[in-house]
């Protein structure tokens, strides 16, 4: 799996079939994604699921309104559905 932050515009060009997780940033400008594809046009790439999750805890106000980050658990088990998670 690959873990990225991409812009909304780049996200819209990606193959949704290969995306297993997506979370919009609080300002809706960015998307944190988990995908089997390699994305070259990205804002940030994470080495693994733990560094990805930890980044969201450090920068939680960008990604959640709860004061928390995105748990590894969420990254692993949330299922992105392109037809409803637009």
């Amino acid at each position: 799996m690959n873990y990225y932050i991409v812009t909304k515009e780049v996200f819209n060009t990606l193959n949704k079939e290969n995306i297993t997780f997506m979370r919009k940033s609080m300002n809706d400008a960015h998307r944190l994604i988990v995908t089997t594809d390699t994305v070259s046009e990205r804002i940030r790439k994470f080495q693994n699921i733990n560094t990805c999750s930890n980044y969201t805890f450090t920068n939680h106000s960008d990604w959640t309104g709860s004061g928390d980050g995105i748990d590894v658990d969420d990254l692993e088990t949330n299922t992105y559905i392109s037809e409803v998670d637009d």
């Binding site: 979370r23 919009k24 609080m26 999750s53 930890n54 805890f57 990604w63 959640t64 309104g65 709860s66 004061g67 928390d68 980050g69 995105i70 748990d71 590894v72 658990d73 969420d74 088990t77 949330n78 299922t79 559905i81 037809e83 409803v84 998670d85």
Partner: protein
């Protein structure tokens, strides 16, 4: 059986009510009215009670019920503080294995909830979770029901660690799509196309609460779970994950490990270094939980309808399936489990979490 509310009374009959909880007009054991009035430990749960002061009168005993149950009250609920950590948790440890359901047992968990989170939560809030005490990972011997505001889904997951990995079955229901596979959830919740929050609560009762119920059959798959929004059936989950094949299946949920049960937060941390415990409480304003019930059977649709009781919180101990009721928390005064025969499961309400008027 209580003393008759009118007509001729027998002193020995009243004595039988006091002695055997059954008025008996044919009883013959002698006593005196003074003895009854002054030496009986009067059950104040009875709607009608005599007094111990003279002069004593037979008529004071009309309608007295010596084994009357306390009347059911629904005045209070429990507010889960937005403050996180064990110091603000609502939790108890089950050391009796009463709630140690496994993948092959049937169960039902139901709770009334008044949403406090806003549309900018963009995270999940944990409604209820049970898991192995002192677990290193959240998934250990775990059953949980959460709402993920970022996807507008209720999710129910159960599973366990399996070696260095994990197994779990998960059902997910979303409420904002009218596509055929999701429309049951859309119709059940009444949220429309907007996500669930304190400003869009969908179908609620007169107090703005929703009764959320998850039932599970004995089948160990995600398809075994069904969701009800109030009495409205959303059916089996349209989003199912079965991650319990192969060697994972040899790591069933324990029937003997002690489990920590928490309301309104995520229990132990989910593998996040430094993230702490008892998080995922929501945002905006505290979410309030009213009567929580746990049953050791899969309630049928009609039984869920009975529990919903047209939006009036029911005394679950009068429910037709009450013999399967293992936990009933009314949050009147405290977090006691009111199912007397289990004698376990009293929630401790800590810190800024508190009992509040519903």
């Amino acid at each position: 059986m209580a003393v008759p509310a009118s007509g001729k009374l027998s002193l020995a009959g009243i004595n039988a009510e006091v002695g055997n909880n059954a008025y008996d007009a044919t009883a013959q054991e002698l006593t005196s009215l003074q003895t009854l009035a002054e030496e009986t430990s009067i059950n104040s749960n009875s709607a009608s009670t005599p007094n111990a002061s003279t002069p004593h009168a037979m008529s004071e005993w009309y309608g007295y019920d010596h084994d009357a149950e306390p009347s059911f009250e629904n005045v209070q609920a429990v507010s889960k503080s937005l403050s996180t950590g064990t110091d603000n948790a609502i939790s108890f440890t089950d050391q009796s294995d009463t709630f140690n359901f496994t993948g092959s047992t049937a169960w039902t968990i139901s709770l009334w909830i008044k949403a406090g989170w806003s549309s900018s939560l963009n995270d999940n809030i944990h409604f209820i979770i049970g898991q192995k005490t002192n677990a290193a990972k959240q998934i250990e011997d775990m059953i949980k029901i959460i709402y993920n505001e970022s996807t507008n889904r209720i999710e129910c997951r159960y599973g366990n660690v399996a070696g260095s990995g994990q197994w779990y079955n998960q059902g997910g229901w979303l409420f904002h799509s009218q596509l055929s596979q999701y429309v049951a959830g859309y119709n059940a919740a009444g949220l429309g196309s907007t996500f669930w929050s304190s400003s869009n609560r969908g179908y609620v009762n007169d107090d703005d609460y929703t009764m959320i119920t998850i039932t599970k059959s004995t089948t160990n798959t995600a398809a075994s779970m069904k969701l009800y929004w109030n009495a409205n059936a959303a059916g089996a989950a349209p989003i199912q994950t079965n991650n319990n094949s192969g060697s994972r299946a040899s790591n069933p949920l324990s029937t003997t490990d002690d489990r920590l049960w928490s309301i309104g937060s995520n229990g132990v941390h989910s593998g996040q270094s430094g993230a702490g415990q008892q998080r995922k409480t929501g945002n905006n304003s505290a979410t309030i939980y009213n009567d929580v019930t746990i049953w050791n059977k899969e309630l049928s649709a009609s039984e869920v309808t009975e529990l919903y009781n047209n939006g009036t919180v029911l005394n679950a101990q009068t429910h037709s399936a009450a013999s399967n009721l293992k936990g009933h928390w009314t949050w009147e005064v405290d977090g006691s489990n009111t199912v007397v025969d289990t004698g376990v499961g009293d929630f401790t309400i800590s810190g800024s979490s508190s009992i509040v008027n519903k």
